[in-house]
Amino acid sequence: MLGYVVRRILIMLPTLIAISIVIFTIINLPPGDYFSTYIAELQSSGEAADLAKINFLKAQYGFDRPLWEQYIFWVGGLLHGDMGYSFAYNLPVNQVVGDRLLMTFIVSFATILFTYIVAFPIGVYSATHQYSWSDHLLTFLGFLGLATPSFLLALVLLYLANVYFGISIGGLMDPKYVDQPWSFSKVVSVGAHLWIPVVVIGTAGTASMIRRLRANLLDELQKQYVVTARAKGLRPLKLLFKYPLRMALNPFISDIGSLLPHVISGAAIVSVVMSLPTTGPMLLDALRSQDMYLAGSFLMFMAFLTVIGVFVSDLALAVLDPRIRLQAGRTQ
């Protein structure tokens, strides 16, 4: 196992280096930089730009140097925990991200819990009651959930709540708490608003997980060892939990890889539609305004979490089910 961990870590390093190069290149692909866009905006509105300050920032963050030097400067900062400076917010990136990170964590963890709590029993029920009317109904609802884009569901809910109940369900709390420090009433307000984004963001993932769990469990239930155990008179529930369900859980474990970055990024488009103060809309703004350090460092942070997540899920799979699994039917 130690050998496996070491090999996996050694694969992660070049992966992260490659991702950092791709992120840096893509962010620098559009012509100009944040400052040229900023100066152009000021000139178009007839205002004068503080060129001295802009030149100082350009020199400090190496915008006047070749691209490869800028890349080294950026990566060196990341290695030392410095994510750079957000020119749009006039704050270090750590501070800009930190303000929204808590809200993103709350929404994302609630969504993940919702997905698992709803998908798990429904998936098991659907598989163990295959082709019953309830299985057909749940399958229909699952496909409906898969086919509906989350932002569309958000728009429909916003419209219905406004037209029929006369309330606004956007945001994560009542407007009066937005800039207030945390208090019990603010927590209650967040709790009251939370279920809507959770249902909106979690529906597609829940439907997808139900389908996968059902399919995997059906595969396992038809295997010979299950038939043998049934023939030996093992109780159905004990039989279900002993092996088939454990084997069918592999996709849940594999999903850990995508969970970590999801927790941080939030659902960007749904957050924009529902005015959620999460990191998704912030990333979109940063990309639009070429706020290089904010966008690049945040994307790199998400990439790091993705790589760590895949590493954790691979490790969990290696511990739980270290079978030979060769694709294309080849064995060695």
């Binding site: 496996y4 070491v6 996996r8 050694l10 079978r323």
Partner: protein, 174 residues
């Protein structure tokens, strides 16, 4: 009696891996100051790769002797597992590739407090697995689904259960 050792060329890659992880993990904080989070992360990585390097060195000087009665490990980490006291056998397969190819196997044997882990680069690995599977069959040990599946892929389980070697049968009867 059979003797099993790790061939040095097979361990060369592991020494390189240990160095490839250890050198940058030590060099980065040595070149420039790092934050507490980065220092903890790099320190953990350095410890892990150092442990891997030490284990590789220990493996280079390890020799496993398999007899009808027991399995003896000589070298820095001496241990002995009697076949008639075998408590657990696990055969795992690991691969870092998505398609599952180019992987390696690890055999884990446990008897009381003694545990032995051997990977498939050791000379005569399949004989070692066959002997272990025969001993596990004679002891009536329950193998986990992954071990059973891996044994089946190697074509060992059926042979082991149906025709335990005369040598091992004699040892098990002692």
């Amino acid at each position: 009696m059979t003797r099993h050792t790790y061939p040095v060329p097979a361990l060369f890659g592991d020494y390189l891996r240990a160095a490839a992880g250890l050198i940058p993990a030590v060099a980065v904080p040595a070149i420039a100051p790092v934050g507490i989070f980065e220092a903890t992360l790099l320190g953990g990585v350095a410890l892990l790769f150092a442990a891997f390097g030490i284990r590789t060195a220990l493996r280079q000087f390890t020799c496993i002797e398999v007899t009808a009665a027991a399995l003896r490990v000589s070298g820095a980490l001496r241990t002995k597992i009697s076949w008639d006291e075998l408590d657990r056998m696990r055969l795992a397969y690991y691969s870092t590739r998505r398609d599952g190819r180019d992987g390696w196997m690890q055999l884990e044997l446990r008897s009381g407090w003694s545990t032995l882990r051997v990977d498939s680069r050791i000379i005569g690995f399949s004989e070692l697995v066959t002997s272990s599977a025969q001993a596990a069959a004679m002891r009536g040990l329950q193998l986990d689904p992954a071990t059973s599946a891996n044994l089946q892929v190697l074509g060992i389980e059926r042979r082991a259960v149906m025709a335990p070697s005369r040598e091992l049968a004699a040892g098990g009867a002692e």
